[in-house]
């Protein structure tokens, strides 16, 4: 690493923190709230990272619980005591239709010259509140240095919902290839509050339904087949772009106890075979490593691509089953990564101020954006032995082996003899006495 001269004429870089909340009312009446927190440290935390090595780990079964939320909140500079994190109450959050939290840590450049690497930690929390279980949003808060964005693209003239208090500030951003319009409430501006020190944001729905724009790339996965012997994993990849085809990288890690048969792998798009341009397959080793399948598939425009592969379910040792064995085993999601061509041109000027939710992945290319989609995890049942039986099984199997051994032992060590009938006990005693007396025996 080259040494840095400290006598440079640049201003010392300080740590930064920014947070924002983006609210998007959905057509179904639910509200999608996205909390974004960004912490930047002006020091180089890790000395050496080799970008050539990618480690991938997944834990498919994770119970949603406050034990996940609390340590996540503690990563924020003020914890849950100040800022938007005050709103993150676990009872409200876990009574939602969808919940997702993430932490991303990466080195970033500050400014155009990138002399000093600084580290950025992004925490995002996405919640979809069900209209009927969580009620209307009545919140009271007071804080500084944040902005609230409300997505009004679907209702420009107020026909879907009405927002109060109205704000003249409007901003546009391109999020995932879609140009959205936001009403901005800037809480750093005292004019937003008016006379009271709190902001009461009210969204009142007027219309009932509408049409939502489908994402350009999404995926589904399910297990087909019946019985506990074999099955098939089907992965469906949807390309909803009207006229552009693009390649997608599909990464699947399947645990070793589902033995994949790669010669049964078929990829079909629009009922025709679609041969992948690149396949990397590393077969599993029992109890050591899972299957790793990476494929580059070209998705034709406006189509569904189906990837199917057959597998066989293994019988495990009785100690390898989890406490509730008939619940099944979780198989981690497959990952679809693609550079999706955008329907709208993107602005890639990085010095301009962007909302946090749209500036996570910035691409050089003007008309595509990077997207990583995770499919659902699978739940697969395996055949189970009877767990109450270890002693019985050992006894019974050893009995059968002993029956074999005993028969062979008898035939090998004994010879055929004519059977002499044995005398009764009384006669034998009498013979003993007679012998002692010296008299001929019976």
């Amino acid at each position: 690493m080259p040494t840095l001269t400290l006598a440079s004429a640049r201003s010392p870089f300080r740590d930064e923190f920014a947070e924002e909340l983006a609210i998007r009312p959905l057509h179904s009446g639910d509200i999608h709230a996205s909390f974004q927190f960004r912490t930047v440290w002006g020091v180089d935390l890790l000395q050496a990272t080799d970008p050539r090595f990618l480690r991938y780990a997944i834990l498919p079964r994770e119970i949603v619980c406050t034990e996940n939320l609390t340590p996540w909140k503690k990563l924020l500079p003020c914890g849950s005591k100040a800022g938007l994190a005050v709103l993150l109450k676990s009872e409200k959050l876990f009574h939602s239709s969808y919940f997702s939290q993430a932490v991303h840590i990466r080195p970033v450049c500050q400014g155009m010259h990138c002399t000093v690497p600084s580290w950025e930690m992004r925490q995002t929390l996405n919640v979809v509140f069900d209209l009927y279980t969580s009620g209307q949003g009545k919140r009271e808060w007071s804080m500084f240095k944040i902005k609230i964005y409300v997505d009004v693209t679907d209702s420009p003239q107020g026909e879907l919902f009405e927002l109060s208090p109205p704000t003249p500030l409007l901003s546009q951003a391109v999020v995932l290839g879609d140009r959205r319009t936001y009403s901005v409430y800037d809480l750093t501006d005292p004019g937003t509050f008016g006379k009271v020190r709190s902001l009461n944001l009210l969204v009142r729905w007027k219309a009932d339904n509408g049409d939502m724009l489908r994402p350009l790339l999404h995926g589904e996965r399910y297990v087909a087949g019946f019985g506990l012997q074999t099955g098939e994993i089907h992965t469906l990849i949807y390309n909803n772009h009207p006229y552009r085809a693009f390649p997608v990288l599909l990464l699947e890690t399947v645990p070793w106890y589902l033995r994949l048969y790669i010669h049964t792998l078929t990829v079909t798009s629009k009922n025709r075979e679609n041969k992948p341009s690149y396949i990397h397959y590393q077969p599993s080793k029992d109890r050591l490593r899972p299957h790793l399948l990476e494929m580059l598939v070209q998705l034709p425009p406006n189509s569904v691509t189906e990837v199917t592969v057959q597998f066989e379910r293994a019988l495990l040792k009785w100690t390898e089953y989890p406490p509730d064995p008939n619940h099944g085993f979780y198989v981690g999601s497959s990952v679809l990564s693609a550079l999706v061509p955008s329907l709208v041109a993107m602005d890639t000027n990085i010095t301009q101020e962007h909302p946090l939710f749209s500036s996570f992945f910035l691409c050089k290319e003007e008309s595509s954006y990077f997207m990583r989609v995770y499919t659902e995890p699978l739940l697969v049942n395996l055949p189970t032995p009877d767990f109450s039986m270890p002693y019985n099984v050992i006894c019974l199997t050893c009995t059968v082996v002993a029956v074999g051994y005993g028969s062979f032992y008898n035939l090998l060590t004994r010879t055929f003899q004519v059977e002499e009938p044995s005398q009764s006990l009384a006669k034998r005693l009498a013979n003993v006495i007679r012998r002692w007396r010296g008299v001929p025996q019976l």
């Binding site: 019985g227 506990l228 397959y281 077969p283 019988l315 055949p383 059968v400 004994r414 055929f416």
Partner: protein, 435 residues
């Protein structure tokens, strides 16, 4: 006898061809009783597909065939059905010829013994007549070709058929007296699955007997021939193993094939005793019981050889039966091989004690296997214990069958030396017991 044999082969091929074209072929090739992780055709196709993808087939845990067989299957993958039928045909013809030669030897020995007046006079009804000896080879071929076990194994395209063909060719070469070919086929059979190495002893004893060398550890001629035969066997094995190394360029196949057979990591259910035992095993006893179970297969060789040193072909039958019952991944194809020998011992019928019960048990278990598998895996109303119980019963039946034939053989030998109608000291009819 060529015409009936040809007719039999045609009938067998027709049955197999009909089943290949029906929808049952798919169903049968997935049955766990018929295919095991060692000889499933689906895994062979998977291994060859991995090779096409540029990955070594032994890097995963799905392929457990030897490299020379990869080479063979690479060429015949499109003609798999014909190859399986040809393998069955080779086995049947090899067994036919072997049993024919063996029966000729048996008849000749019997004739000399009768002329030398070595048998007691009441043993004449125990003698084998030429008439019954004439039809035995055809019955052997029929038992093998038309046995439902063999037909299922062939329709599933299990590689067990090819292993059986190699063992049958080994039996033929041994009985014909060719030591070199016998050693080569034995080395091939051992290379495929380790267990046929126990057939070294009966082959050695038979060849010594044929060359009139007495089986006496103190004689030099015995050791000379033993070393010759051992050298031929070990030499062929080394050549074959070396060829396999050069074919794929690595020793990866040794843990994948032989390590797999010996350490039994895959617990897929089959008709043997190993799978459930090791599924329910306490972890700290696992190594101990694996050693016990594997020793159990090899353990009977020496005692059986000592007891049956004058009857090496029966010893060969016993060894093949013990391998088929106690090996780590048995299938019905292995059972079909030793059951094909049963007509050779049909003259023992009067001394068999349990044959009716044993045949009922084997028939009932064969019928119950698919039923209880369906109930466990598809219907979900039974559990693994049901299938395991039938496995136990099936193996008990097989063990009783083999020990029954052993008893009958020893008893006949006893009668041939001591007379058929034995009397007690007071002149009344005696009963024979093992003491």
């Amino acid at each position: 006898m060529a015409a009936p044999l040809t007719l039999l082969v045609i009938v067998a091929v027709t049955i197999r061809a009909v089943l290949f074209r029906s929808s049952l072929a798919e169903l049968i090739s997935e049955r766990v009783e018929v295919v095991s992780p060692l000889n499933s055709w689906k895994r062979v196709v998977e291994g060859l597909a991995l090779l096409d993808l540029g990955v070594s087939p032994y890097s995963g845990d799905v392929f457990h065939e030897t490299p020379l067989t990869i080479y063979l299957y690479h060429f015949v993958i499109d003609y798999a059905e014909i190859v399986c039928m040809i393998a069955d045909g080779i086995t049947a013809v090899a067994l036919y010829l072997a049993v024919q030669v063996y029966n000729k030897n048996v008849f000749r020995k019997q004739k000399y013994a009768l002329e030398a007046d070595r048998y007691p006079h009441d043993c004449l009804e125990l003698m084998q007549t030429p008439k019954e000896l004439f039809y035995v080879p055809l019955k052997v071929a029929m038992f093998y070709l038309l046995s439902p076990f063999t037909i299922l194994s062939c329709v599933a395209k299990s590689t067990c058929g090819i292993n059986n063909a190699i063992v049958a060719l080994f039996v033929l070469c041994t009985i014909k007296g060719s030591a070199l070919l016998s050693a080569i086929f034995l080395a091939l059979a051992t290379y495929q699955s380790i267990y046929p190495i126990t057939l070294f002893a009966p082959a050695l004893i038979y060849l010594l007997q044929r060359l009139y060398i007495p089986v006496n550890l103190r004689r030099q001629s015995f050791w000379l021939f033993t070393l010759q035969y051992a050298f031929m066997f070990v030499g062929s094995l080394v050549v074959i193993v070396g060829l396999s190394f050069f074919l794929l360029g690595s020793w990866d196949y040794i843990p994948s094939v032989y390590g797999f057979i010996l350490s039994v990591p895959d617990l897929t259910p089959n008709i043997g005793l190993f799978w459930y035992f090791f599924a329910e095993m306490f972890e700290h006893f696992r190594l101990f019981f694996i050693c016990v179970f594997q020793i159990n297969v090899f353990f009977y060789t020496i005692p059986l050889s000592i007891k049956l040193k004058d009857h090496p072909v029966f010893l060969m039958f016993m060894q093949i039966a013990i391998i088929s019952i106690f090996k780590s991944y048995p299938t019905v194809g292995d059972i079909a091989l030793y059951m094909a020998f049963l007509p050779v011992w049909s003259h023992l019928y009067r001394f068999l004690r349990n044959i009716f019960m044993v045949s009922c048990v084997l028939l009932a278990c064969s019928a119950l296997f698919p039923v209880l598998w369906h109930l466990w895996i598809y219907a979900g109303s039974a559990n693994s214990n049901f299938y395991y119980a039938i496995t136990l019963l099936f193996n008990v039946g097989q063990v009783l069958l083999v020990s029954d034939y052993f008893y009958a053989y020893l008893r006949r030998e006893h009668h041939l030396s001591h007379g058929l109608y034995l009397k007690k000291k007071d002149g009344s009819e005696a009963t024979l017991v093992l003491k």
